[in-house]
Amino acid sequence: MIPLRKPADYAPILMPLIVVAIWALAAASTSSPLFPGPAKVAQAIWHNFSTIMVQLGATLTRVVIGFAVAAAITVPLGIMLGRLRIIGQLFEPVMDMLATLPPPAIVPLVMLFAGTGDAAKITMIAFAAAIPLLMNTYEASKTQNEMANLVARSLRLSRFETMLRVDLPAALPMIATGVRMAVAAALLVSVTSEILLATDGIGVFLQRQQENFQIAGGLAGIFFISLTGLVVNTLILAFEKRWLFWHYRAQEDAK
């Protein structure tokens, strides 16, 4: 049985429909090849589907590797820096400086050391993801809950157990914020790096389409990049709902 829906439930579907409709009208009225309508883009998606998938696959593989490398290094590092106050304070200005650096700015440097292949791109992605991950893990680990640590000590937990069973869960909401920012940064940088250091990937696909004035094809690529972002975000939200609901609910209740 289909449940009755309130008009508000249709709003998220309605808005894109309106946009597409206006777009279609505008495209039809100009009828320029440089301004394809939705139908053209749909066609381009159909034609390029397998190419887009392969290229997107290459991109996402690097994103996943870069992100994993960044997380493996920065999460333990962030926790450690937050724990060791003095060293953390030493590194704070460095982190602040790196945080404001646009990741593409390191491209020349990375090329010098890592060339222009996969390693270079993965390095850039890892760098971009590392900054928000490191900052957030560090902050989370620094603002540890003293009370929770007293409880852990009075229950005679070891340092390691305390980190795993008390500090880590307490830090997870903030780390999750870092993850969300890191994923966005990783996607951005992966596409950018491909455009700059072209070999394969969805960024290269975009550039090829553009070079050949295949605007519809370019839009098709963009469509899939947005779709990827949407899927990843939905996954993260689902994870947070499942594992971090206590944080958001407790915050709501405190209001």
């Binding site: 007293l150 409880v151 005679r156 869960p169």
Partner: protein
Amino acid sequence: MNDTTILEAVDLRKAYGHGLQRMPILDGIDFRVRKGDFVSVVGPSGCGKTTLLMALAGLSQPDTGEVRFRGQPVTQPPQGLAVVFQDYSRSLFPWKTARENVIFAMRDTAQKTRQERRDRADELLAAVGLKEFAQKYPWQLSGGMQQRVAIARGLASESDLLLLDEPLAAVDAQTRADMQDLILELAQRFDQTCLLVTHDVDEAVYMADKVIVLSRRPTSVATEIPVDLGKRRDQLATREQPGFLHARHEVMERIRSYRSQMAG
């Protein structure tokens, strides 16, 4: 040492801060707690009760002096000693349900399997009147309920000595009386020696076999007053007994002498 002594504080001293900012808090605390006793420590807010309790629990080191638990010097939180913290709402983990919070304390206990721990946690939660709330998260519970979860967790570690830091400071009068009786009943039922810290004289006397009165800061033990009222207490009858009134009078008088000193 007497073999019924379970806890002993020997000339505990502690100051916070350094140099000009140095502020002595504990200034030579001496007392003993006998196994099976319910001991109240009463002193005004800010006199160093929590500081004392942390030292007793092995959670902080005194500058000089020694804490002995079952005759052994305390340098780390010892097994067999449990703490119910003053700041109970933050002492519970928000990512764990009431049951999971209680189970968290069962590390060195007899319950080994998941099911045994669950059953034990539910038994303890039932004992504090929270049978139906095992699956709730701390933030879904009222302050008084959170405090009872914290007490259940204190009992879960199967310790002999329970240190309670102003457990009832934040609850309303009626709940307070109920909780006093609940704590007394639990101490009996689970065979706990208890040391309860409070700033409330009536509560200190009502609950205890012995009241330790702290001086004003820098704090030492002003006097110890035995309360011979037996183990069974009653909110109405006990508070009208001569023994209660006498002990209460003595505690009050001692505290008043500090107040007049301060004024003078």
